[in-house]
Chain length 109, copies 2
Amino acid sequence: MSSRTSHRSAPAHTHPDDVAVQTALAALADPVRLRLVRELAKAEDWTRTCGSFDVPVGKAACSHHFAVLRAAGLVEQRDEGARRLNRLRRAEFDARFPGLLDLVLREDG
Amino acid sequence: MSSRTSHRSAPAHTHPDDVAVQTALAALADPVRLRLVRELAKAEDWTRTCGSFDVPVGKAACSHHFAVLRAAGLVEQRDEGARRLNRLRRAEFDARFPGLLDLVLREDG
DNA sequence: CGGAGTGTAAGATCGGCGTCGAACACTCGC
DNA sequence: GCGAGTGTTCGACGCCGATCTTACACTCCG
C-alpha cells in the first residue's frame, strides 16, 4: 500500500484566484481570524499547528476559523502525522489581492 | 440667525485615520455597501443622493449602510437643501489603507 | 493494544447585523 | 400653509455566523 503517513481526507483548498473579494474581506474582518493570520505570518511555513495559537476560543471554533481561511485562499494545510500544519499563502494571495495582506499585516505590528 | 440652508444636524463623520482595519474590512464586506461604494466611485463628487442608488433594499436600510460607510471613513456627506449629497473619500481613505479602495473598485470593473 | 494528543463533525445556543414598516423631521415649491 | 419629496430613527423580526459541548476519527508511542 501507499506507505504515506495519512489516511485522513486532505482538507479541501481554494486557490485565491477562485475567491471573491467579499469572501476575502469577510475572512479578514473577524478578530480571531485576523490574529491567526498575523501570528501565522510571523512564523516559518509549516511550523504552526492549529492548536498552537493563542486565541481566546476553543479548539472547535479555531478549527472552524481555519476552514474559513482555507476557503478564502489565505492558508494552506498539510497533514503530518497526527498534526495538521499550516502555511500562509503569501505570494498567491497577494497576486490575487495586491496589497491586502500587506495591509492587515502592517497594522499594529 | 445664521442664514445657512440647514437646521439639520450634520452627520457625524469619522476620518479614515481614526478607523480600525477591521472596521474598514467589515464595511466593505457587505454586498450592498460594496455596490454603493462602486457606484459612488463612478460618479462625480457631490452628485449622488442617498436614494439615487440602485440597490435592492429599502431606504431605511440604505440610510443605515451610509451611516456605516461614514463611520468607516469611506464617504463624506453634505446637506444641500432637502437632499444629502455624497462623496467618496478616495485620497484620505487610500492614504490610510493603501490599495484597499483600488482593490475593491478594480474588481468586476 | 490502549492511552494521550490533535483535529473535525454534529447539534444547540446566542448575539449581532441587515432588513422592513411606520413614524417623524426637514426642505422645497406651489 | 400645505403637500410632496427626501432621509433618519425606532422597534421588531429573521437569519447567519461565532461559540461551546460532546462525540468521533486518526496518529503516535509506550
